[in-house]
């Protein structure tokens, strides 16, 4: 019988794996053409499994899978082009991006621009550039690619943002000049320059770095809901040692 719905050699990254039954894994893949896909890698936990060493996050891979249901069957994996060596803090940044994608990206919803940007960010991280800035860029691009509006050039009354003015930024509404009667967790006070810098992709200013971090944290918390991010908690716990 012909295998239905087979996808050959799709560019993917492994976001996460979970043990499944005695010797298998469920693999969460981020693919270029199909978005987030979950597949069973049969026997991948056996000592001599060909897939075992390859099912590592942050590496460009080519995957072949089949299946019609939500959970596919992974048939084979090959190394994609170029190996990435994430080390140290860059690894934790990678885990953080993976957690964001696992939490926010719906299954089987293609986002090829985000896929490309994810790969670019991994490459930047592996070359040991400015990690915080790479993450800010990725967070913003991710929200925009997923269709969440993050207006940076105009305020909520459609007036252009002025660099020297102080704004209150509220999720889903944007920047406002008035005082909003909302709990502090749902709004961030910042300079107009921060928003304009972010729109221009310029994070050289230290105040822009700081305020963009607060802004993105507030926006992500809004879309993530009540459950906090594991990666952030882990970094807090490590600081406490």
């Amino acid at each position: 019988m012909a295998v239905l719905h087979k996808q050959d050699n799709q560019p993917v990254y492994v976001l996460h794996t979970y043990p499944f039954k005695e010797t298998s894994l469920v693999v969460e893949l981020f693919s270029r053409d199909f978005g987030r896909v979950a597949a069973v890698a049969k026997g991948a936990r056996r000592p001599r499994s060909a897939m075992r060493g390859m099912l590592q996050s942050f590496q460009p891979l080519l995957a072949t899978w089949s299946g019609k249901a939500e959970l596919k069957t992974l048939h084979s994996l090959e190394w994609g082009s170029g190996l990435l060596l994430l080390q140290g803090d860059a690894l934790m940044c990678g885990f953080y991006m993976n957690e964001l994608l696992l939490r926010l990206l719906p299954r089987e919803d293609s986002h090829d621009a985000l896929f490309a940007y994810y790969g670019d960010t991994l490459r930047t991280l592996s070359q040991n550039a400015e990690h915080a800035t790479s993450l800010r860029r990725f967070e913003l691009r991710m929200l925009q690619e997923m269709g969440y509006a993050v207006p940076l050039l105009n305020d909520e009354r459609d007036q252009p943002i002025e660099a020297e003015r102080i704004y209150e930024y509220v999720a889903e509404r944007g920047a406002s000049t008035g005082v909003t009667p909302l709990p502090a967790a749902n709004r961030v006070q910042l300079r107009g320059k921060t928003l304009l810098d972010m729109a221009r992709d310029d994070y050289a200013d230290s105040q822009t770095q700081q305020q963009s971090k607060q802004l993105m944290r507030m926006l992500l918390a809004h879309y993530l809901g009540d459950k906090p991010l594991h990666t952030r908690q882990l970094l807090i716990d490590l600081q406490g040692l």
Partner: protein
């Protein structure tokens, strides 16, 4: 038809084992009660006994019946070297090589950010205390070369180096007898990136 309550309870208890679902649990319960009652008795006693006597070694954190395990108590090991591994099976593999003469610390896991496994679950505090006993000079990190193992090694090394200890990581690359033609490209790429100069 319902099974007797005691049998139901046994099935439910067996399901706490990894990879055992309701069907396998029922099969195991039937087997133990029908075919192998003496085996079942042995299992019950062994389980009860193990729960009573097995704890973690106060020094290396591995499973032990004593406060200090035999390996930590041995006086022919080098106390200045401390090797950190993820699991007791890793310790056994390293011991089989018979090259390492130092002592060990077993984390009983690894940092796994996406599963919410953090420093508390892998006893990092205990490791920090162990490594700073004043005798240990070098800590050898032998966690796995997976992304989680790498992250674990990175954070342990940061913590220990800031406390003035020498930290090293086991090497990786081509396996013994490895032929370039048959090595996977991930390993090969890493071997190239981390090449060393020949003395």
């Amino acid at each position: 038809m319902r099974n007797p309550p005691a049998l139901e309870q046994l099935v439910e208890s067996l399901r706490c084992l990894p990879g055992v679902g309701p069907k396998s649990a029922l099969r195991m319960a039937y087997h133990l009660l029908q075919r192998d009652r003496s085996g079942a008795n042995g299992l019950a006693q062994a389980l009860h006994n193990a729960l009573q006597v097995v704890t973690h070694c106060s020094l290396c954190n591995t499973f032990s019946e004593d406060i200090v395990c035999p390996l930590c108590a041995a006086d022919n090991r080098d106390p200045t070297l401390l090797c950190v591994v993820e699991m007791p099976t890793d310790l056994m593999m390293l011991e089989q090589t018979r090259v390492f003469q130092g002592r060990y610390f077993v984390l009983m896991g690894k940092l796994s950010p996406l599963d919410g496994i953090g420093p508390k679950e892998i006893h990092l505090e205990k490791l920090l205390k162990r490594a700073q006993d004043g005798v240990v000079e070098e800590v050898v990190l032998a966690t796995n070369y997976t992304v989680e193992g790498e992250a674990t090694a990175h954070y342990i090394s940061e913590l220990l180096r800031s406390r003035g200890l020498k930290v090293s990581r086991i090497a990786r690359g081509l396996p013994m007898g490895g032929e370039i033609e048959h090595v996977d490209s991930g390993t090969l790429a890493q071997a190239l990136m981390e090449r060393r100069s020949v003395r």
